[in-house]
């Protein structure tokens, strides 16, 4: 890409008679990140070092969430006041500070970053924008291209996760940005003068100084910057009561008989399923997988896909499951950890439930549930009296016990209406996948992955089911085509890209049109 607007004219600033030159600095931040504080600090540092400095900002939306630009110019004081510009110009920015990775990207596309001129100080962490958060799937964009572009467009790059540095030191990103700026050497000011300014600011000084120092050292290479950690999910431990040990060992034996490449995923799935229901349920899970293995070959992708999605399909989210998860000891610990409760504090915990008629009747034994679900008068009665949000205090015994008792229904889960319908659904999907696997292995892999579409509760769940049905429905059109797997994957991605399934409808239309064309 070339810069969006390259000037027709080469135009670099010329220095003053005494060699003094104007240094320009633009800071791009997301509203609420403290860009104003950073600007004030830099101004103060410059002035303390005998520089004339001027800062401007477009405030207003700064306290909200939009992208915001702050701009500074400074010049060694020679007794005359330089004429400072009030906003950054393409190709005329010496130092570009970006408090978030995509904002650094935005600065590049706006032409603020120029080779042989611009030092980029960028925090590489991400703050997802609204449209990245609202996609039903994973709407987050990949920042690698921005990092790559930064390397090409900038003269000098100091980029690391300054948010983490700040957080770990109990401070906010303005401190670590200032540290990285100081450490980059882009400004001709000694380190102490930055520290003095922070000290004079009066609030949270020691944490700010710590974050400043660490970022400074990261920028100079003295310290290794925090690396992006793959989210560690320590392989969950399964606690198996003594009396169940032998049964569990038998299951583990069955896993070890499976092809090696699939074992890891199968073990994870097996643990999940056994934790969800019981050991017998785990055996049922393995029954299914053993059927898949017969149709699979190295590198056993089909088995891995099945291990992942069958476990998810079998662990459907019903009231029992939620009640179980919410009453676990590990969960309580995690919550206490997350909201930082000290020993001398007490935690009040409220859960938000809203079981509708559908959830209620499907949690009943099959026959009763089926009968009541057809009973309009009962439905009206339920809706009138019970269909409302429930706040359950799980820090109190009453609320905890209510959920604990619901979760204690687990041994009877197989007899409940919900289980029947879920298993019918799972069987249909699973058998179809096996059937397809006999002649189109890749397509079967995609069919298994389609279970990703089913998620959420109540209406969201219904919407997921409908998308799943529509994507699976395209099978008849696609089967037999060499690119069937590819298209199946595209349909799923489309279904995950928006809430209403508009993209999916479009994709389905495309599939329909080319199959019709080929038929004609």
């Amino acid at each position: 890409m070339t810069l969006e607007k390259t000037s027709q004219f080469v135009a670099r600033r010329s220095p003053g008679a005494d060699g003094e030159r104007i240094i320009t600095l633009a800071a791009l931040a997301v509203g609420g990140q403290g860009g104003g504080v950073l600007t004030n600090w830099i101004t103060a540092v410059a002035e303390a070092n005998g520089y004339n400095a001027q800062s401007t900002s477009v405030a207003g939306v700064a306290q909200r969430t939009g992208a915001t630009i702050y701009y500074l110019e400074m010049c060694r004081d020679t007794g005359r006041k330089p004429v400072f510009a009030l906003s950054p110009t393409e190709g005329d920015v010496d130092i570009l500070v970006a408090a978030e990775l995509m904002e650094a990207g935005r600065a590049i596309t706006r032409g603020f970053v120029i080779p042989s001129r611009t030092t980029v100080i960028a925090s590489t962490h991400r703050i997802p924008a609204v449209n990245e958060k609202t996609a039903p799937g994973d709407g987050r964009v990949d920042g690698t291209a921005v990092l790559e572009a930064m390397g090409i467009a900038a003269d000098h790059v100091v980029a690391f996760d300054m948010e983490t540095v700040a957080k770990e030191e109990g401070s906010v990103i303005s401190s670590s940005l200032l540290g990285a700026l100081a450490g980059s050497g882009a400004l001709p000011f000694p380190r102490e003068s930055y520290e003095d300014v922070i000290k004079a600011s009066g609030r949270g000084v020691s944490a700010s100084i710590r974050a400043f120092n660490r970022a400074y050292d990261c920028a100079t290479g003295k310290e290794v910057a925090p690396q992006p950690q793959p989210v560690s999910n320590p392989t969950p431990k399964l606690s198996v009561p003594k009396k169940l040990k032998s049964q569990w060992l038998a299951l583990q034996k069955r896993v070890s008989d499976l092809p090696e490449p699939a074992q890891e995923m199968v073990t994870l799935g097996l643990k999940k399923v056994a934790d969800y229901q019981d050991i017998v349920y785990g055996a049922e899970y393995l029954d299914r997988l053993e059927q898949v293995v017969c149709l699979d070959f190295a590198p056993y992708r089909l088995t891995q896909q099945a291990a992942k999605y069958v476990s998810r399909a079998m662990c459907y989210d019903d009231i029992l499951r939620v009640a179980d998860l919410k009453t676990r000891g590990t969960r309580m610990e995690r919550v206490r950890d997350e909201v930082a409760v000290n020993d001398d504090q007490v935690l009040m915990l409220t859960e938000y439930f809203h079981p509708r008629f559908e959830e209620f009747v499907t949690t009943l034994p099959k026959a009763l549930g089926r009968w009541l679900s057809r009973n309009r008068r009962f439905e009206a009665f339920y809706t009138h009296h019970f269909d409302k949000g429930r706040r359950i205090r799980t820090d109190q015994l009453s609320g905890f016990l209510a959920l604990y008792l619901v979760s204690a229904m687990r041994p009877w889960r197989r007899k409940l209406l919900r289980h029947e319908s879920e298993m019918a659904h799972v069987d249909a999907w699973f058998n179809k996948s096996l059937e397809v696997a006999r002649h189109d292995h890749a397509l079967a892999c995609e069919l298994l992955a389609n279970y990703r579409l089913i998620k959420g509760y109540s209406d969201t769940h219904v919407r997921g089911l409908s998308k799943f049905a529509r994507v699976m429905g395209a099978l008849d059109m696609l089967q037999g085509r060499p690119d069937a797997a590819d298209w199946m994957c595209r349909l799923r991605e489309a279904a995950l890209s928006d809430e209403n399934g508009d993209a999916l409808n479009g994709a389905l239309k495309t599939v329909l049109s080319f199959t019709q064309m080929e038929a004609a």
Partner: protein
């Protein structure tokens, strides 16, 4: 006043002769008003001039000592009408507002004020919100100056120049009996700089003294036949007097070599941008020394014909550097040159784009084209062509996510629009009219609600044409904030709907402040304000206007109730507007108020609850339905690290203020049971602690019991 203290800024207003003032441009103007013996100040808040209002509101002690009256005007029209105090009395008055939106509202008063003219210096400080980063429609205030014939100053954007222009503005106004606009752009308002202060001055006459000695001059009153006299006076007396003052006092500055064959005529406000461009073209040094002849107009209206002509005399070409469209100045200058038979070539638009801000690059390109066309030898050879290397980079334009402004963390308006979205999901789309204020962010994702915005307080008015012949048919929904309601909405929107029996649904978003402009108090604010009468009920006002169907909601976070009330309003058979007053305090201001207090309470051993929300990541299925009804900055996505899962789950970070929206939305929309509210109690009571210990013991016994019977992942 707002939940923010401006004590430090107020101290700067006390600086005396010779001391150095250091701070933002708009605060420098505030100080300059006091140095110039202003007698009264009014205005309506809005970026970029809110700071002036905020600081003066906190500066009662200084104002009292000097005998200066300050008030937060109800609207820009009120503010401008306030300048009537300078019509008969020699009192200097100043008002301020955001332009052009404020000037639009002020127009009626402005015309009347300009017609009769003033005795005391009258200054209107307009925050020109034009160009990059602007939050309003793109128009220029210049047109108002021309049509009402009030003068306009546009000083160079540095603190000494801006401060000097305040004094000059008052003098110009007095010399020509005409109100004067002082235009400052967003960045000059927020520019940080220094100037040497003078002592504050008491006004020559205070408003109290004027009240005690009433005066009246029939010729100054806007009524025929005096109005004909005014028109003649504007043209034959006030205009020449203004030109005389501008020329004699050198308001406009010349730079560079007068012998140059080309010249630039620029607005003072763009001076720095022009100098920077010249510097980059090696035609000026960093201090602005240049050989290029420049006429810098710090007084942009009126243009002094004699000055323009003498500047252009003997030049091959002049270049008018003026932003936006229409190019009023360029047209006038062209007209002057043509009528006087000048041979000088006039350049302007064409070399500059028709619209948009004069950014550094735009001016640089314009100047380079101008010099190339008219003084080919002037530019150094190296500047003549593009020789920057082309960069081969990944195309970022497709991956960069837009980042529109949205509601703050914990904003009480979010649940109102979540409820509206739920209503639309149930009943279908409606025509929704929006208004000005934070609530306008509903237009943006994730809510995507609202079709038009027609002006402050005009949301419901802009839905007034939508009269459904079918009584059971769809109704319009319109929004108006508490700020807009009191500014103009009471009559223009509510009164209009009542009088015309409009059946639409009107939601008044009441967050206790004029929040979008910085959290100033308004009539319905809940705070006690020493100098203002607050706590005036919106509901009562609405009822007073004749609305019969009114619902007051005191907790907007109750999404279910909000949704049900909207549905009730949409299905009501009652004639006339259905008004819902949805009230909850602006979270930004609430946090400013509450946070320090809570911290103090914790420290002093009092019981304090700190609410926060969280998500159980193993219950969350990663569908993000909650985010499509929220957009809260503290609610985001995170990876689980679980190889069995594909999609990131919802997560709430430390910045959560526990407003409750997440839980309420999950409940109202029946989304999922993943959310929990955690209240951390500091300094709990003894009984509370014992109860918690007991409960914890029993719970862990039950949990252990389960471990003994089942396989459990941990």
């Amino acid at each position: 006043m707002a939940e923010r203290s401006f004590a430090r800024e107020v101290e700067k207003l006390r600086l005396g002769e010779g001391e150095t003032f250091s701070g933002e441009g708009i605060l420098a103007i505030t100080k300059a008003l006091l140095e110039n013996g202003v007698g009264y100040v009014g205005g309506y808040q809005g970026s970029p001039i809110s700071h002036l209002m905020d600081v003066l509101a906190d500066a009662q002690s200084i104002l009292g000592e000097l005998g200066v009256h300050f008030e937060a005007s109800a609207s820009e029209a009120t503010a401008t009408a306030m300048l009537a105090a300078s019509v008969h009395y020699p009192i200097r008055g100043a008002v301020t507002y955001k332009s052009v939106v404020g000037t639009n509202v002020a127009s009626d008063a402005l015309s009347n004020l300009a017609s009769g003219g003033v005795t005391g210096g009258s200054l209107i400080i307009v925050g020109e919100d034009y160009g990059e980063g602007s939050s309003i429609m793109q128009e220029r205030t210049y047109a108002f100056a021309m049509k009402s014939q009030v003068w306009m100053l546009d000083p160079r954007p540095n603190l000494p120049s801006i401060v000097q222009s305040v004094g000059q503005g008052f003098e110009l106004s007095e010399a020509s009996n005409t109100p004067v606009m002082l235009q400052v752009r967003i960045r000059s308002c927020h520019v940080h700089g220094h100037f040497t202060a003078s002592n504050n001055k008491r006004p020559n006459m205070s408003v109290s003294e004027a009240l005690e000695n009433p005066k009246r001059d029939l010729n100054r009153i806007v009524l025929p036949p005096a109005t004909y006299l005014h028109e003649d006076e504007k043209l034959t007396k006030r205009w020449p007097a203004a030109e005389k003052y501008i020329l004699e006092n050198n308001l406009n500055e010349e730079f560079g070599d007068p012998a140059g064959k080309v010249g630039l005529i620029i607005q003072g406000g763009n001076y720095n941008t022009v100098i920077r461009a010249l510097n980059r073209l090696e035609l000026a040094n960093i201090y602005g020394d240049t050989d290029v002849h420049i006429l810098c107009l710090n007084a942009v209206y009126p243009l002094c014909e004699s000055q323009i002509l003498s500047f252009s005399e003997g030049k091959d070409a002049i270049f008018v550097i003026e932003e936006g469209q229409p190019n009023f100045m360029e047209q006038s200058i062209g007209h002057m040159l043509y009528k006087n038979g000048s041979k000088t070539k006039l350049e302007g638009k064409g070399m500059l784009p028709l619209g948009g801000e004069l950014t550094g690059q735009v001016v640089l390109d314009g100047l380079a084209s101008f010099f190339k066309a008219h003084v080919p030898g002037l530019l150094p050879a190296s500047k003549g062509a593009h020789n920057e290397p082309e960069l081969k980079m990944p195309d970022l334009s497709k991956i960069l996510p837009p980042r529109p402004p949205g509601f703050c963390t914990g904003c009480p308006e979010r649940p109102i629009f979540a409820a509206t979205k739920l209503v639309e999901q149930e009943l279908g789309k409606h025509h929704i009219a929006s208004d000005i204020g934070c609530h306008l962010f509903s237009i943006m994702p994730p809510f995507d609600l609202g079709a038009t915005t027609m002006g402050y307080g005009l949301g419901p008015a802009s839905a007034s044409a939508f009269h459904n012949e079918n009584k059971d048919g769809r109704k319009s929904i319109s929004f108006v904030g508490d700020g807009g309601f009191w500014h103009n909405g009471v009559a223009s929107s509510i009164g209009n709907a009542v009088f015309n029996k409009n059946d639409g649904v009107i939601v008044i978003v009441d967050n206790y402040y004029s929040a979008a402009t910085g959290g100033q108090d308004i009539l319905s604010s809940r705070a006690n304000n020493k100098t203002k009468q607050t706590q005036n009920s919106i509901t009562k006002a609405v009822q007073g206007m004749g609305v019969k169907w009114v619902r007051q909601l005191d907790r907007t976070y109750d999404v279910t109730k909000m949704r049900d009330t909207l549905k009730e309003a949409l299905s009501s058979q009652e004639e006339g507007p259905k008004v819902i007053v949805a009230s909850s305090e602006c979270m930004l201001n609430k946090q400013r108020r509450v946070k320090p207090q809570l911290a103090k309470d914790v420290k002093e051993g009092r019981r304090v609850e700190r609410p926060r929300f969280g998500v159980d990541e193993d219950v969350c299925t990663g569908d993000h339905a909650c985010m499509r009804l929220s957009g809260c900055p503290s609610l985001s996505v995170k990876d689980t690290g679980d190889p069995l899962r594909d999609d990131p789950v919802a997560a709430i970070d430390q910045t959560c203020v526990g407003c409750g929206n997440c839980g309420e939305v999950a409940d109202a929309a029946v989304l999922c049971p993943s959310f929990y509210e955690a209240r951390v109690v500091s300094n709990p009571t003894g009984a509370e602690r014992r109860r918690a210990n007991r409960a914890n013991k029993i719970m862990s016994w039950l949990q252990k019991r389960r471990y003994a019977q089942q396989v459990v992942l941990s």
